[in-house]
């Protein structure tokens, strides 16, 4: 016990003496939250709009105005030729080409129908789909307005892509609910981001910290002392475990204060689950540190594991749209279970009764990973 006390004191001193480390511990959750919560959303803002206006009429100008006034489209440029617009789309100066054909206004007045063309850069299919839904809605809204204003002279404008055709003055536009652009993704993303944070702290700091001692030679020095394996591991993991919990606290407080992310369930449950999950994360770090010789190798291996973990966890992409084998892999990543607990408890006010399965899995995971890691760790090379 006395030895562990000395080791703990050493470890805390080293961690808090390292300015970069302290900055990491307290700033990283906040920065990550600010960046990720704002960037990692599925809503689409400021699509670069390129206009080819062959009509130059009040109608063509009004359509452009409506699109830019929505705030979702930014006028990136315009040209007289489609060829130039194509180039803009190709080198990503434009995300959407709006082609307003000659005689658009005249046709509208004469036949009560007009066609315009929108070409999207659909490299990112989901984003293009959302942008196209926005554009169609805006154009359709303007069409309805025109129809009301100029009735019976003008019917409507329909967007010619795959937009519903206006027929006989009324507009039949089917908006799909799942592209709800107003949905706030933050509440959904933040609990996941907190999980990423705890995972990074747990695994990365542990692996790098021990690899550092290997690199410096201080680990050999400790290994020739009577410090036992258990004492060494406790001395390393208790500080990092406590820091992981503090990080979670900092991140959660920030998310709650700044983003208004709700905390509907019990904080005890959140931190209890985190305490279990951290054992898994630390165990992984410990396991990696036993396999590597340098900090660089440790980081590399941890990055590899984390990327697989995070991509498979359903944090950024829905697990259900993965192939079946990947869904199985996903079920075996501890990250997913912790994310589920966090979302359930924070957003839905879930209690132990709602998340006991996940907790059980996390506990099982903790025991197995920790057991393997401790067994793997050796003071002496055989």
């Amino acid at each position: 016990m006395r030895t562990i006390r000395f080791l703990l004191r050493k470890e805390y001193r080293q961690i808090f003496r390292d300015r970069v480390m302290v900055a990491q511990i307290f700033m990283v959750p906040i920065i990550q939250m600010l960046v990720l919560a704002n960037a990692a959303t599925f809503s689409v803002r400021s699509v670069q709009l390129w206009v080819v206006d062959d009509d130059r009429s009040s109608v063509s100008r009004a359509i452009v105005d409506r699109l830019t006034a929505s705030g979702r489209f930014v006028l990136a440029g315009s040209s007289a030729s489609m060829a130039e617009a194509d180039d803009a789309l190709l080198d990503r100066r434009a995300g959407l080409i709006l082609h307003l054909p000659a005689r658009l206004e005249r046709e509208l007045v004469r036949t009560r129908r007009g066609e315009i063309q929108m070409i999207f850069n659909a490299e990112d299919g989901a984003a293009a789909g959302i942008a196209s839904a926005y554009a169609q809605r805006i154009v359709a809204g303007y069409g309805a307005e025109l129809a009301a204003e100029l009735r019976p002279a003008v019917g409507a404008i329909g967007a010619a892509s795959d937009a519903p055709r206006a027929a006989g003055g009324s507009l039949d536009l089917r908006l799909r609910g799942w592209y709800n652009p107003e949905l706030d993704y933050r509440d959904f993303m933040v609990p996941g981001i907190l999980v990423v944070l705890v995972t990074i702290v747990g695994s990365m700091l542990t692996a790098v910290n021990i690899a550092r001692e290997k690199e410096l030679g201080t680990l050999d020095q400790l290994n020739v002392t009577p410090v036992t394996k258990t004492q060494f591991i406790a001395g390393k993991l208790i500080p990092l475990w406590s820091i992981g919990l503090v990080e979670l606290g900092v991140g959660l407080a920030f998310a709650h204060a700044v983003f208004g992310v709700p905390v509907r369930g019990s904080l005890w449950l959140v931190f209890g689950a985190a305490a279990m999950y951290l054992v898994v994360a630390l165990g992984i770090g410990l396991l990696v540190s036993a396999m590597v010789d340098t900090q660089q190798q440790a980081m590399f291996v941890i990055y590899f594991i984390l990327i697989v973990y995070l991509l498979m966890s359903g944090l950024f992409t829905p697990v259900r749209s993965m192939p079946v084998w990947a869904q199985w892999v996903s079920a075996f990543t501890p990250v997913q279970h912790f994310v589920t607990v966090m979302r359930s408890v924070l957003l839905k006010g879930g209690g132990v009764g709602d998340v006991w399965r996940e907790l059980l899995v996390l506990a099982g995971y903790g025991v197995v990973v920790f057991w393997v890691a401790v067994r793997q760790y050796r003071k002496r090379v055989a």
């Binding site: 006395r2 000395f6 080791l7 004191r9 050493k10 030679g217 020739v224 002496r380 090379v381 055989a382």
Partner: protein, 242 residues
């Protein structure tokens, strides 16, 4: 004569097909300053790692301070001090914090840590530096501090793996004075070095060539046996032959 500090019999370590240390057999008496020489890659570090319980022997055995390194490495660790060629103190802890840490690890009481630590800093002239980070003090002082810290639990044997690498000649001289004082108090000193003038200071030296002990004796004996004027010449002769 009491039992020797170190007894090695056929101590061998293989890595795959490569035999890094091949059947070492030797004894080191208590209070002796034993120089362990050899070219880079001759197997010195591997041998030290076995003697300090960091590496299990593939064959043979060794007893260090009465404990078998293969069966009872923990017993060995309590009785030895170790200072590695890579700097072994924590540079981001202060001088005093390092002393406290190692004192605590070796099971010293708070009073012992205070008394021995204070005396240690005093004798090294490091008292004014007690609150300085070890990373910020000069290399020579660091090495002397590391040596003193390796002795804080009064071990029977201290292993010094190239302790004077990179330090200036004056500090080296002072370091060797510390080694003599330590040996005079009855602590066995097992030291590796690349400096042949240092080898002359040892009671006995051994020279390893390709995992084997090619020579063992007092510096005078070895010089006489090879008919040369310095240990340096003995070393070059043996290393070239191997």
């Amino acid at each position: 004569m009491s039992e020797p500090a170190i007894v090695a019999e056929g101590l061998t370590r293989r890595f795959g097909d490569f035999v890094a240390v091949d059947a070492l057999t030797f004894e080191v008496a208590r209070g002796e300053v034993f120089g362990f020489l050899g070219a880079n890659g001759a197997g010195k570090t591997t041998a030290i790692r076995m003697l300090t319980g960091l590496l299990a022997p593939s064959a043979g055995h060794a007893t260090v301070a009465g404990h078998d390194v293969g069966r009872d490495p923990e017993g060995v660790r309590r009785r030895i001090g170790y200072m590695s060629q890579r700097f072994s103190l924590y540079e981001d802890l202060t001088v005093r914090e390092n002393v406290e840490l190692y004192g605590g690890i070796y099971g010293l009481s708070d009073a012992e840590i205070r008394d021995r630590g204070g005396a240690l800093l005093e004798s090294l002239g490091l008292t004014p530096w007690a609150r300085t980070l070890v990373g910020a003090i000069p290399l020579g002082r660091k090495q002397k501090l590391a040596f003193s810290v390796a002795l804080i639990h009064r071990p029977a044997i201290v292993f010094l793996d190239e302790p004077t690498g990179g330090v200036d000649p004056i500090t080296r001289r002072q370091f060797w004075e510390m080694i003599y004082e330590t040996a005079a108090r009855g602590t066995t000193v097992f030291v590796t070095t690349h400096y042949m003038d240092e080898a002359e200071y040892c009671d006995r030296i051994s020279i390893m060539v390709d995992g084997r002990m090619a020579a063992l004796g007092t510096p005078a004996e070895l010089k006489r046996a090879h008919g040369v004027a310095s240990v340096d010449d003995v070393f070059v002769r043996l290393a070239r032959a191997g």
